[in-house]
C-alpha cells in the first residue's frame, strides 16, 4: 500500500498541481472568510449554517468560519473524489497500474490514502488561511477576536479540523464507491452530483426524517455539530456504518472485476 501511496503522491506533487491547488485554496479561504464574516448576523440563524456575532467572538470563532465555509463545498468535494477515481477507469490507467501492482486492494487503499493525505494538507492550509482572513476582517464588523489566540481556541481548531477531515473522508470513500461501481466519469459524476445536490436536498425539504438517514445530509449535520433532527454523534455513527458498507462493496467489486478497455 505504501508503494501505491507514494506513486499517487508522485502524480500530485507536481508544480502545476501544487500552484493551482494553492491558488484555489487561497481564493476559497479568503473569499469564504470574507463572505461569512460580512454576512454574520447578530442573532442566530434558524437553519444553523450561518454564524452569529456571539459565536464568532468565541474562542472557536476563527475556525468556525472554516468549518462553515467548507460545509458549503460538500458537493464539490464529492464530485472531485468521484472524478479522481472514475477517471482512472475511463482513461485505462487502472489497467496500467495493475500491471505494476497486481494486489488490487493495496492499490486502491494506497491511492485513496494518497488523495486523502493531499486533502488533509489542503484542509490544514485552508483552515489557517481562513482563520487569518477572518481575524483581519472581524474587527471591521465589531467582532472581538481576543479569544481566538488561546489554548481553548487551539483545541477548537484541532477539533474542527478533525471533524472536517472526517467529513471529507466520508465523501471521498462514498465517491470512490460510486466510481468503482460505474467506472465511467460522466456517469459517476452524474450520479454523484444528482445525489449529493438536488436529490438529498429536495427530499430533505419534502420529508424531514431523511435528515437522519441520507449520508450527505448526515455528513452535513456532523460537520455542523449536529442539527435539531440528528445529533453529531448519531450522524457520525451512521456515517461510519454507511462508509464501512460502501468500502466493503467497493473493495469486493474492485478485487474481482475484470479490468479492460
Amino acid at each position: 500500500m505504501i508503494a501505491a501511496l507514494r506513486s499517487e503522491l508522485v502524480k500530485l506533487r507536481r508544480r502545476r498541481v501544487l500552484i493551482l491547488t494553492a491558488l484555489l485554496t487561497l481564493a476559497f479561504s479568503v473569499g469564504s472568510a470574507a463572505l461569512i464574516v460580512t454576512s454574520a448576523e447578530r442573532t442566530g440563524n434558524p437553519r444553523g449554517r450561518g454564524v452569529t456575532f456571539a459565536s464568532l467572538a468565541d474562542a472557536g470563532g476563527g475556525t468556525e468560519v472554516f468549518t462553515t465555509a467548507v460545509s458549503f463545498a460538500g458537493t464539490f468535494l464529492f464530485v472531485v473524489f468521484v472524478g479522481a477515481v472514475a477517471v482512472e477507469f475511463s482513461r485505462g490507467t487502472f489497467r496500467t497500474m495493475l500491471l505494476h501492482q497486481p494486489r488490487r486492494l493495496r492499490l486502491l487503499a494506497g491511492k485513496m490514502t494518497g488523495l486523502l493525505l493531499f486533502a488533509a494538507f489542503i484542509l490544514a492550509a485552508s483552515e489557517a488561511l481562513t482563520w487569518l482572513s477572518a481575524r483581519l476582517l472581524a474587527p471591521s464588523r465589531g467582532v472581538p477576536t481576543a479569544d481566538w489566540i488561546s489554548f481553548r481556541a487551539l483545541g477548537d481548531a484541532f477539533t474542527d479540523y478533525a471533524s472536517v477531515l472526517f467529513w471529507v473522508s466520508g465523501y471521498a470513500l462514498l465517491g470512490m464507491t460510486i466510481a468503482v461501481l460505474v467506472r465511467s466519469v460522466p456517469l459517476a459524476l452524474g450520479i454523484g452530483i444528482a445525489w449529493a445536490g438536488p436529490v438529498e436536498h429536495i427530499l430533505q425539504d419534502a420529508w424531514s426524517p431523511v435528515n437522519r438517514y441520507f449520508p450527505g445530509l448526515l455528513l452535513e449535520a456532523f460537520v455542523a455539530g449536529g442539527t435539531s433532527e440528528v445529533s453529531a454523534s448519531r450522524a457520525l455513527l451512521t456515517v461510519v456504518v454507511y462508509v464501512g458498507i460502501a468500502v466493503a462493496i467497493a473493495a469486493t467489486t474492485f478485487a474481482r472485476r475484470d479490468v479492460t478497455g
Binding site: 507514494r6 502524480k11 485505462g92 492499490l107 479490468v259
Partner: protein, 324 residues
Amino acid sequence: MTQETAEALRQRYPQEERPPVALVTNGLSKRYGRRLAVDALSIEVPTGVVAGFIGPNGAGKTTTMAMLLGLVRPSAGTATVLGESIEEPATYLSRVGALIEAPSFWPGLTGVQNLRALAVLGGHDESRIPEVLDLVGLDTRGSDRFGEYSFGMKQRLGIAAALLGDPALLVLDEPTNGLDPAGINEMRDFIRSVGDGRRTVLVSSHILSELEQVCDWLIVIDRGSLVYQGPTQGFLGRAGAVVALAPEHLGDLDRLAELARADGHEPHAEGDELIVPVGESDPRRVALALNKAAIAQDIVLAELEVRRPSLESNYLAVVEGRGR
C-alpha cells in the same frame, strides 16, 4: 493442442531436450454473456522465444493476454506464467512487462513522471528510466507531457513502461499500432533485440510480415480457438512454394500448362499467369525445367518467378479455410 502442433513441438523440442516453458494454458476460456471470447485454449510458449500471437480481430488475442496478466478472470481453465498460476498474478507480474490495448498514462504528467509513478508503484529501480526511454527512442522527449505525444510516441512510452522491471517475459499487444513505416521497422529491430534468448516475448500484431521476420514461434487462433502453435517454419511449411510463369503472348498460356503437366505438375491459370505448385520438389529446379521447355517450344516468358509461402498467405489460407 492440435495434432499438428503436438508434432511440431515434438520435432523441435524432443521430450528430453524440451526447454522450460514461459507460459502454459490448459483449456483457458473466457465467456462474456453468450459470447465465448476464448474457447478452451491450450498453448505453450517455450522460454527464450519470440512468439507471435496472430488471429483476426475479435479472435481472442487481447482477452487471452489480459487473462495471463491477471486483468481478466478466466471462466474456465488454468494457466501458469513463469511457473506461477495466473490466480496469483502478484507472484509473477514483477517479472513480466506488458503493453496491452492502448497505452494508458496520465496526460498531465511528462514521460519521465509517468514512468516514475509506475516505477514507484511496482518497486522498480527508478534509475532505469533514462535507459528505457533511450531504448524506445524517447530520450529527448521524456520531459514533454504525455498528452502532447503522438500516438506512436505513446506506444513507445508504453513499451518503456513494460521494460522498467527488466522483465523475463514481455507481453506486447499490437505494439506497431500507430507507428509510421520507420517506426514499424524500428519496432521490429527492437523486438528482435529484446528477444535475444535471454527473455521471452509474446507479441500480437496484425502486420504479419513483421511477425514473420522476428518470431521463431507462432500461435494462431481464430474465434477463440487454437489453429496452430509451433515453430514459425512449421507454419510456413504448410503450403508449398509455387512457380509463376507469364508468357509474352497470352495465347501461349494453354501450351505452357501442357508443358507443366508433362513435367508432372498440376498448374492453374490466374489472370495472365500460370501458377505451378511444386509440392515437395525444388522450386528452382522446376522453374529451370519449365523455362527450358518453354524455350524449346518457342514460348517467350515475360516473367518467371519462384514464390515461397509467406506468413500472411498461409494465415489467410487457414482463416479462409475456416469459413471466413
